[in-house]
């Protein structure tokens, strides 16, 4: 009951004209940069940093937060329209969202993404309001062993992700794991696969991989043959999701929200892992899994809900414990620090207007985002009618700018060309890109935590089973493995 008072207070704070204006500015800007590849919330917030000095704390953080979760909305737009993930978490949306766009269903896809995100955002906000501190504490129980078994479980389950050939899918996961190895090894400080090139010492960036593997490969696939290939069906079947769509998308969105809220809290994993996880979950639960990868609306609704819920709950560690879960959060934390606000366990008590005002404004921001994005759906769909010969070079240009902007280094652009060639070869050979991305994201986390867990236990492997949370994940991993292997064994016996 008390929290209702807090919320009411928060809304009072958030509904001031100034705060509303900054909220809107934040989410609008966030959406825009989410659409642009490479340029993400981090760069934008860094650029706006000095401006926050001249603003009072509450509007400043409202705006910065708006940029952060607004970018998730924008990221899905490019995933659906041109198979280019704007953020790591949007990569999964490419799989089915882009196919929907090609089938003339870009409108429903975009609208579903927006609505699922809105739903998730509302629930996420509630989660923060109700259970923020408790969840923050719970996140602290996740140590190296827990992360290891969680990652292992995700990897094993990733076989579910592949649409076609399971073996090639798994090979792509392994290839992704290898690409993730490039760079400095956390546990030893040794640079691996860097060939003495300083730019590789920090690893291969996400934008480089995403652009090369998804966007470039797809564009070349569309250009390769002599006969004109219709990239997007001329026949557009309507801008809004049908009643059937909404029915199909409803439960996936709910499940996505739950998964996203849980993963977002874990400092470090966040939106990306949640979107991958829900996709795999939905595919396993679906009555007809073969629809996934061909434009199944569940494949858009669930990941979008997940990544937006995660984007909201990612604020919990920062607000309740004072721990930034990512560089972007660190920057926001610094902005608050420079306002003289000590974000830590005390912030809820010491600055309730900030805490509750922020939560309320996150909800308002989500509303604004839906209001902003739904009308834009028509605009985006119109964009797809632009002749492809104008569209694809533009995409290449924006991708190049985006890639360069990550480190202001041409090397990233050159590397992207190389990955593009490799990506095209792989896609042409019918190896799916999404599993690679999963391996790329998970690999470093898995290795880092595995070695750390063994270091902490001084070489004792039983730690993965004896610690309760880790034990649970380990058992789940074994179960998933059995579930996946057993049916194939059975079918092989039948065909033998």
């Amino acid at each position: 009951m008390e929290f209702l008072n807090h919320l009411a207070f928060g809304f009072g704070v958030a509904f001031s004209l100034q705060n509303l204006a900054y909220c809107f500015a934040g989410v609008a800007l966030g959406t825009l940069i989410g659409v642009l590849p490479g340029v993400g919330p981090l760069v934008t917030i860094a650029m706006l940093f000095p401006i926050t000095f001249h603003l009072p704390a509450v509007p400043a953080i409202i705006m910065l937060a708006g940029i952060f979760y607004g970018a998730q909305y924008g990221g899905s737009t490019t995933s659906i329209l041109v198979n280019l993930p704007g953020e790591t978490a949007s990569a999964v949306t490419c799989i089915d969202g882009y196919q929907m766009a090609r089938q003339g269903r870009a409108g429903p896809a975009l609208a579903t993404a927006a609505l699922a995100s809105f739903f998730a955002g509302c629930i996420g906000t509630l989660v923060i309001a109700l259970a923020g501190p408790t969840l923050g504490e719970w996140a602290l129980k996740f140590g190296a062993a827990e992360y290891t078994s969680l990652m292992l479980m995700a990897l094993v389950a990733s076989a579910v992700m592949t649409q076609g050939d399971a073996v090639k899918g798994l090979a792509m996961v392994v290839l992704g794991l290898i690409i993730g190895v490039v760079g400095v090894d956390v546990n030893s400080g040794m640079a691996r696969y860097a060939f003495g090139i300083p730019e590789l010492v920090d690893g291969i960036g996400f934008t480089v991989v995403a652009v090369g593997l998804f966007a470039v490969a797809e564009i070349v696939m569309n250009l390769e043959s002599r006969e004109p290939r219709e990239v997007y069906t001329g026949k557009v079947t309507g801008l809004m999701p049908t009643a059937r769509d909404i029915k199909d998308a409803a439960w996936p969105a709910v499940r996505g929200t739950v998964v996203g809220s849980c993963f977002g809290i874990l400092p470090g994993t966040g939106p990306a892992l949640s979107s991958f996880a829900t996709y795999m979950l939905e595919k396993k639960l679906a009555r007809d899994p073969s629809r996934f990868g061909r434009g199944a609306i569940e494949g858009v609704a669930a990941p979008e809900a997940a990544n937006n819920a995660a984007a909201q709950t990612a604020f919990i560690p920062m607000l309740t414990l004072g721990i930034p879960a990512s560089a972007t959060m660190a920057l926001m934390l610094a902005a608050l620090t420079l306002q003289g606000i000590a974000t830590g366990p005390q912030v809820m008590l010491e600055k309730p207007d900030l805490f509750w005002g922020l939560i309320a404004s996150m909800w308002i921001g989500n509303c604004l985002l839906v209001v902003l994005n739904l009308p834009l759906v028509g605009l985006w769909v119109k964009l797809l009618t632009v002749p492809y010969r104008w569209l694809f070079p533009s995409i290449i240009v924006f991708c190049c700018i985006g890639n360069f902007s990550v480190n202001n280094n041409p090397f990233d652009v050159y590397l992207c060309a190389l990955i593009g060639v490799l990506g095209y070869a792989l896609v042409k050979l019918e190896c799916e890109p999404a599993p690679l991305l999963l391996g790329y994201v998970l690999g470093p986390l898995l290795e880092e935590n595995l070695r750390r867990a063994l270091l902490l236990s001084r070489g004792d492997p039983t730690v993965f089973v004896t610690r309760p949370i880790s034990g649970a994940f380990t058992i789940a991993t074994v179960l998933i493995f059995i579930i996946m292997v057993v049916p194939t064994v059975r079918t092989r016996r039948r065909t033998a």
Partner: protein
């Protein structure tokens, strides 16, 4: 007619001297200045730069624009930086990485002679913090406890080669205790590890740690710098607690490419000092746990040399190998 010739020559020489003096005073800067930061946006380095740059822009009358070139703990930025023209229109933010990189990776530049060091902008310290369940409450107790439990105590860091890591290495080097290093990717995960008790010790930066300490979630022991920290005055320095000579600071400095004219170096130095004297920059730096310094180019150059030497010794002794 010899005298007039001599006078004419003298006049010419005077004219030449006057002309070059005038040229040296040619208005600098006439276009925006690029302030290169060797880290991606979001780190404290970047934040300090973005704090100071607007003030510098005000003072100089030209925009000072922060440009991030992250990678290899400032090595990538430095490598590109030393090849730029020494005209004062590009400046670089230095960090302790500058002093540790020569010992860890193969560099294509000379860490001392390829730079014209302008000034040390600010310094901050680390607070040796422990999980509440960890018994020692002072440096002396820590040393005794560690000697009894040699190789059993885990300490965290935000990455190999960071000041968080090296603070701990220097401590072990100077006191002879042996801890086990558990590296994390960055300060956030490192802090989580300490809060959850996964590691027992962490040399985190003062503002982050003091928040948790004052909230009772962690216990602080001592600070790493040569003098007590204004942001954490209740804690003694490690130096005064039983490890004489121990000093680790995280510092932020400014440099220009090697052959930059002295007049420009002085002008930049002057600008930073003025910026550091302005109350809002000073208070914001303090919020970040940093003290503005603003020393002379000579002092800063000497400081860099000391840092490089010191860390060389520690890195070799700890057996840290880079690439």
């Amino acid at each position: 007619m010899r005298q007039p010739l001599v006078y004419r020559l003298l006049a010419l020489m005077l004219l030449a001297v006057a002309a070059s003096a005038a040229l040296a005073q040619a208005p600098y800067p006439v276009k925006p200045i690029r302030f290169i930061v060797g880290f991606p946006p979001g780190g404290t380095n970047d934040i300090v730069a973005r704090l100071v740059a607007p003030k510098m822009s005000e003072i100089l009358g030209q925009q000072v624009v922060v440009e991030n070139r992250g990678g290899a703990n400032t090595a990538i930025a430095s490598e590109m930086f030393v090849r730029l023209p020494p005209d004062g229109y590009t400046i670089l933010m230095n960090a302790p990485g500058h002093a540790t990189n020569p010992w860890l990776i193969k560099l294509n530049y000379d860490s001392i002679h390829d730079f014209a060091f302008v000034t040390l902008i600010a310094e901050s310290q680390n607070l040796l913090s422990v999980h509440p369940s960890f018994p020692p409450r002072s440096v002396k107790e820590l040393i005794a406890f560690s000697k009894k439990h040699r190789g059993e105590i885990n300490y965290g860091s935000s990455g190999i080669g960071t000041t968080v890591h090296l603070s701990a290495e220097l401590f072990q080097y100077m006191t002879g205790v042996k801890w086990v290093h558990v590296a994390y990717k960055g300060g956030g995960p490192g802090l989580v590890a300490l809060l959850s008790g996964e590691v027992s010790l962490y040399f985190g930066n003062v503002p982050t740690m003091i928040r948790q300490v004052r909230a009772g979630r962690l216990r602080g022991i001592a600070v790493s710098g040569p003098e007590r920290s204004a942001a954490a005055p209740e804690f003694p320095t490690i130096q005064e607690s039983g490890v004489p000579g121990y000093s680790v600071t995280t510092w932020y400095g400014l440099s220009a490419p090697a052959k930059t004219p002295r007049a420009i170096v002085d002008r930049l130095n002057d600008t930073v000092v003025k910026a550091l004297n302005s109350p809002d920059v000073r208070s914001r730096l303090r919020d970040l746990g940093a003290n503005g310094v603003g020393n002379t180019p000579e002092q800063y150059t000497a400081f860099i040399r000391e840092e490089i030497d010191k860390w060389g010794k520690v890195i070799k002794a700890a057996g840290i190998k880079g690439d």
